[in-house]
Amino acid sequence: MAELKNKTAQTEATAEVKPARKSDPRIKEIILNGLIFQNPILVLFLGMCSTLAVSTSLTNALGMGLSTTIVLICSNVVISLLRKAIPKEVRIACYVVIIAGFVTIVELCLKAFLPALSESLGIFIPLIVVNCIILGRAEAFASKETPGYAALDGLSMGLGFTAALSIMGFIRELLGAGSILGHEILPVKATLIAAPCGGFLVLGTLVAVVQYFRAKPPKAKKAEPVEAAPVEAAVKGGDEA
């Protein structure tokens, strides 16, 4: 009990996850971390290149997000299985080769089954190899944990990435091209939003909104209800997507 009290006093982040009453609190922790508290795009700021480049439409965003998720799960599991076999000095090179192998598989599958998507994502599919999220999770999580947790972490981080990317894609397609998933909705178009500079501006605003919601509650009340705000913001975002 005393330990729990201590934790609550320390940081809100750990305090929110501790009182999980599931059979395994870690599962909930991993899922929430990937989707919300450590969202790769909106909180950790990883994987910016692909985020900015492919978020011009919702289709592209979904395609990119799911491809990355698949690679992330597979590489996390394999790296976690090999965590005792890989020597520490050459671990980064090993991770990169494993990741590149899975990326090649995904690339070939997309080319074979979804040629249109593969065409529009272009060079950014092979560039999943150098997406910092994947190497980051390999280094920070998969290399220390068992395969089950690693797979779950890959899934939740991947879905968090996909969700944030889809919100970006949704906003940029709606405002920039006046359409959603290729169907025309708005009669007006702000082509600037679809242009490269729009990516920076939309993401900047989106991160500012997230930071606004993360910073707000502690002013109003004390530390406990902090968890409500990020969850709410993310749920809102999820609805939009």
Partner: protein
């Protein structure tokens, strides 16, 4: 390769299709190491150096190893390995023979392995079926484009350090918006080409 071709390649790579601001390659170091102008210059030079070298080496690997063996589908794996090894070698070489340059570039070199601009340049060279010379030139010019963008960005950021922003825009969003405005300026270069 004629001079006009070279010039148009340079114009495209540095201005009209700037790697960072138009193609979104190499955003991580662009946002990460752009707090001060001198570190930005260091990073930029390291990228020019590695991108030129890696464009050469990946062209050779592709032409003399992957194509004859019919292994084009291994490009991604082969290129990233070559780049990782190359960066490591460059680091060792500089440490041993050009220590002054090593101390200047030192910390930036390892970071470049995961810079998607380097792999991106290699893949774009193959996609556009460029010759050896054109590939090398494209690598160097793209690196220069990266340097231009990151130095511009760093100088703007230095001046913004004491500016007052709304609280929620402080930090990362502010950097993104700044980059967005610079990218908007670069939009003016789109379509720029040499007519001959």
């Amino acid at each position: 390769m004629s001079l006009t071709e070279l010039i148009s390649l340079a114009l495209a790579a540095i201005l009209a299709e700037n790697f960072v601001l138009v193609k979104f390659l190499g955003i991580c170091p662009f946002l990460g190491v752009s707090k001060k102008t001198d570190t930005a210059i260091g990073m930029g030079l390291a990228v020019v150096f590695v991108m030129g070298l890696s464009s050469m080496v990946t062209w050779l690997v592709n032409e003399f190893l992957l194509l004859p063996l019919g292994l084009e589908y291994m490009q991604t794996v082969a290129f990233i390995l070559v780049i990782a090894a190359l960066v490591q070698f460059v680091e060792l070489f500089l440490k041993r023979f050009v220590p002054a340059l090593y101390t200047a570039l030192g910390i930036y070199l390892p970071l470049i392995t995961t810079n998607c601009a380097v792999l991106g340049a290699a893949l774009l060279n193959v996609q556009n079926e460029r010759s050896f010379l054109a590939s090398t030139a494209f690598g160097v010019f793209s690196g220069l484009g990266f340097t231009l963008a990151i130095v511009l960005f760093a100088s703007v950021r230095e001046r913004l350090e004491y500016a007052k922003f709304p609280k929620c825009f402080q930090g990362f969003p502010q950097a993104l918006i700044t980059a967005g405005l610079i990218a908007m300026a670069f939009l003016g270069f789109s379509g720029l080409q040499v007519v001959w």
